[in-house]
Structure formats: C-alpha cells, structure tokens
C-alpha cells in the first residue's frame, strides 16, 4: 500500500454516527460559546498603572493601620469584587480529578481543564482509586466509568442518596435509602439493610478498611449518624455495633482523620470529636457564635478539620480547626458575603476548594497561605451549559482521591 492509499483509507474510514456526533458536538459547543462572555478591551497602560497604585495603597493601608481583622475582611471582599466575572475553571491547582454535582448531573473535571458529563444522575462519589463513580438517580444506584460514562452495574432502590464507596479494596458501597442505611457489594450484588433508622447524613467508612476484611485491616467499619444525634460505629458485614456515642446535635456529616484515630461529627453549631477506638468524646469544638456549618472535611493528612458556614449577618466563613491541639481553636481562613456551601481538600492536602454560591465562584485556598486565593467564576454556566433556567449551584463532590476515595 502506498502512502497515498493509507491517507485515503484513514480519511475515508467510516466512523460510527459521524454526522450525528458532529451535530451533537456543535450543539454543545454553541451552547458553551453562548454562555461565554466576550473579553472586554484591556485597560490602557496609564489606567493599569493607576489601578496598580490604588491597589498598592490599599495593601499599605491594611498593613500599616491597626484596624485588624475587620479591615482584612473588608479588603478580602474588595480584592475579590469581580469573582462573578472571574474566568471559568480551566485547570486544578493540584493533581487529581474533581467530581462535580450539578443540575445536569455529575461531571468529572480533569486537571487539564477537560470535563465530562456522566449522565442523568443526582449524586456521585468516587471509588477508592477513581476507577469508578457510584451515582444515584431517583430509583437507582449505578456504578459508571468516569472516562466514558459506561454503566458498570446498577441496582434498583427507593431514592438512594449519599453513596460512599468503601476504601481499600472497594468491595462495598454504603448508601441511604429513605431513613435506612444499606450496603451493596462493589459489583452490585448482596444489597442489604444495615440500619433501618439513621439521620440524613452520609456514612463514613474507616479509611484503612478493607471489605471484606483481612486479618491486617480488621473489620469493615462504617460510621453512621442516628436521628438522636448519636454516632454509631458498625461492622458493615455483620451489622454488629462496635460502639455508640451519647445522643447530641444531629450531625450533618461524619468524617475520619487520615490515620483513622478520630471520628468527627459536624452539626450546625459544633464539631464533636470521638476516639475511633472506643467512641469516647475527646473534645467538642463550638463554632463562632452565630455561625451555622454548611460543610466540613478532615485534611488528607494530619488532624486539621476545615469547616464552612454562614453567619447571622449574611456572610460566610471558612475555618480550620487543628484537632491535634488539646483545646482546638478555630482559625479563620476567609470571610465573604453570601454562602460558602461546600468544602473539599485537594488529594495532596495543599488546597481547599470552597464553593461560594453568591458569587457563582469556586475559591481555591492554600491554608498555609490564606491570602493566596485562586478564583474560578461562572461555575453554574460551566457545569450547566446550554440551560437557560437558573441552575442550581454546582458542588464539588470529591477531588480524587481524597480520604481514600470517600471524597
């Protein structure tokens, strides 16, 4: 075969649904283009200089005056006045892929800026190594491949929510169905009831768990919240309750520290921290007065716990609570108007992704350098291309592979 023949055959080779793919592609591209805001003319050089001088003056004013935190908060608002106009997310500041829940369904966003809609699902969670995503729809729990959206298995159930894939071998997926907690094997078999009466909070697998258990890993353990606010540690295979805490405020979420020594239960106004070994309450950290927690997560390493929440005055806070200390004092990372709705750690623990609904933006914040913030804007448009109705604000649902896949 000659070169010309090879060229001809490569150009003429039939591609399945070539025409349909082209037209589908055009609809997606056109919708994305319609959502794009054409760039405005850049400021002239003298104007840029004036802006720079004004910015420097503000920074100096903050540094040199004793007004303290209030001024810093003010400046933080001022230096991000155009978060709504910020560029869409085009990359991630740390390795990994982000799972995003949107009105259209879950997306997988890769570090290089590519993104893929997985399908018509509601919630999603990574498998331990990011090989699969467990996603829920009205009556199904489905395992799909994140690269292709290929459905691997699905089970029918009544309103499955809050799926969490067990770490380690990934042999179990826990999920809520109404007020019950259920567990299914990683291949979609052996779906069974674990607890018939749980609080509306996602379960949390012990990070070092292997399911089925090995002699080294111990039992396959899941933390779940009860309607009276008690936290229970349960063997997911036998259903045996390993320990149960006293009742308390109903947790919104549960999470494990990186080395499985602590279990945290975040409720609206406080964070309770339990010993994972026996369930003893180690400490209770009250959030600042008037703050209501919206989300929280343990750092992938160490014992710091990040919390986002809203305050009485229509503002939001992001805090970092160092739980290694005997009496943990929350450290304020960020304050802005509106609501911080979700927080997610990067797998390397260097970045916190905070969803800021009011600005339609996501903030990437390095807790070691809280002033160093990367802003991605137009998040609703980016993850709901082609929709004209106001879209629900997309939420990050896991930066693979944090917390051994539990996102």
């Amino acid at each position: 075969m000659r070169a010309t023949e090879l060229r001809r055959r490569l150009r003429d080779a039939p591609i399945p649904e070539e025409h349909e793919a082209r037209e589908r592609g055009w609809r997606v591209v056109r919708a994305a283009y319609a959502e794009r805001r054409p760039s405005t003319a850049r400021a002239s050089a003298p104007r840029r200089l004036a802006i720079a001088l004004a910015g420097a003056a503000i920074v100096l004013a903050v540094v040199l005056t004793p007004a303290g935190a209030k001024v810093v908060d003010f400046v933080r608002d001022v230096v991000r006045p155009n978060a709504k106009e910020a560029k869409p997310l085009t990359s991630l500041p740390a390795p990994g892929s982000l799972l995003v829940e949107s009105q259209q369904g879950p997306w997988v966003f890769h570090r290089d800026g590519s993104q893929r809609l997985l399908g018509d699902y509601r919630q999603a969670t990574w498998s331990p190594n990011g090989v699969f995503v467990a996603a829920t729809s009205a009556h199904q729990l489905t395992a799909v491949e994140p690269d292709t959206g290929t459905v691997h298995w699905s089970i029918n159930g009544r309103h499955p929510t809050d799926p969490r894939w067990a770490p380690g071998n990934g042999y179990r997926v826990a999920y809520r169905s109404g007020s019950s907690m259920r567990v299914v094997a990683g291949d979609g078999t052996h779906d069974h009831l674990l607890d018939a009466n749980v609080a509306p909070a996602p379960p949390a697998w012990r990070p070092a768990t292997n399911c089925p258990p090995t002699s080294a890993s111990g039992p396959c353990v899941l933390a779940l919240a009860k309607p009276d606010g008690a936290v229970r540690m349960v063997d997911a295979d036998s259903g045996k309750v390993l320990w149960a805490s006293a009742a308390g405020p109903v947790p919104r979420l549960l999470d494990w520290s990186a080395h499985s020594s602590l279990v945290a239960a975040l409720s609206a106004a406080e964070l309770r921290v339990f010993s994972a070994a026996d369930g003893s309450l180690i400490q209770t950290v009250r959030l600042p007065a008037g703050m209501e927690a919206t989300d929280g997560a343990f750092a992938p390493a160490g014992k710091s716990f990040a919390v986002t929440g809203t305050t009485r005055h229509g503002r939001s806070k992001a805090l970092l609570i160092p739980l290694a200390a005997a009496r943990a004092q929350p450290r304020s990372l960020l304050t802005d108007p509106g609501a911080f709705t979700d927080v997610t750690w990067s797998p390397d623990g260097h970045w916190l992704l905070i969803a800021w609904r009011k600005a339609g933006a996501w903030l990437f914040l390095n807790p070691e350098h809280p002033g160093h913030i990367k802003t991605a804007g137009q998040i609703s448009r980016q993850f709901s291309p082609g929709t004209t109705a106001p879209a629900g604000f997309p939420r990050p649902a896991g930066w693979c592979c944090t917390q051994a896949g539990t996102g």
């Binding site: 075969m1 589908r24 592609g25 990934g170 291949d187």
Partner: protein, 222 residues
Amino acid sequence: MMVPGLRPVAAGPREEIQLAGETTESVAVPLRLARAGSPSRALERRRERRWIKAAQSGSEEALEHLYRRHWSWAHRAAYLVVHDAAAAEDIAQEAFLSAIRSLDRFDRSRPFGPWLNRIVVNRAIDWARARSLRHETGAEFEAEAAGAEPAAPEVASAVYSDEVVASLRHLSPEHRAVVVLRYLLDYTPGEIAKALDLPRGTVNSRLRRALDRLGAEMEVGQ
C-alpha cells in the same frame, strides 16, 4: 515488515490533495494539506484568522465556520487513536470547549488546527492508555468490583469495514497517534515531535515500528 511504498519520513513533495475551496463543510481537507505558500493556503489562513477574530468578538457564525472546518478532522483523529466512538466524540468536544475557554487568549497569527489537534491527539493517547491499563490490571479491577463481569473492550466487537483501521487497533496508542498525525493530518515528523513533545528520533522510530506492525497485521488479516 514495512508496508510497501510507505516511508516514515517522506522526503519528497507532498501529494497533491484536493483543496476544498470555499466550503467549510466537514469534507474539507486539513488546511495544512494545501501546498505551503500556495495561494489557496494563504487564502485559507487569512479566512481562518478572520473567523477567529470574529469569534473572539462574539460571532457565532464565525465560530461555526471554525467548528465545521476542524471538527471532522479532530473527531476522526481521536477515533483512529482511541477506537471508541463515544470517547472520540467526547475528546473532540472537550477540545473545542477548551478552545472556547481559551479563545480570548488565542494568538491569531498561529493556525487553529494544529493547536486543536495537539489537544485532541494527546488527550486521545491518555484515554487509550488509561483504557488499556484498565484492561491489563484485571486484579485491580476485581478488587474494586468483586465478581463483576469485565466490560468487553468496545473495539473487540466493533466491525471495521477497513482493514487498515482494524489493523491500527493492534498498535499502541502512541504508535497510532504518530500514524494519525503523519498520514491523516499530514504532519511532518518535526511537527509531530513538537505536538507530542518528543524527540524527533523517537517520532521516526515510532513511525517505523508502527508501519512495520501495521504491515504485519494487514498481512495476517489477508
């Protein structure tokens, strides 16, 4: 065995390939296939620059010209590397979405196609590698989804009407990519090296090996 008549580094003038003229339909050939310096090529480049400028200013019509000019090549290149129709469609779509996100910063003096195709081919290689890794690591798969039936590779059941395309799937993604860039998109080895961020010698050796393997596979298939 080398495919008769094929040389990895073509030294002679490029084949004369019909230029699509004014059309922006998908049947148009890659812009670069027009002879370098030819009036047709210069005309096409000027027209593409106008489209890019207009698209940057908000013209959907100009964007559609660009899209229809480049989609088919991007899609086809992706398909020939990944051999999966759905993945190829996604890869081409994502490349265009990337282009839209970067449109304001795009340097109009540079051609659009090579920039787009670079994204497409690199992403296709990544996808194909990930796919093959998944098939190779059955143990990992089993650990993650105990007892589940592994999904059969789509390529295994696909029916190819062209034996060249069928034979391509026996090559590694990296080898498929150089064949696609060289013989579908008509890149020179130097341009392939730049697109894939490889030494030129590596490109030449990959081309040689790819063509040898392609020839062998086609011989087996006959």
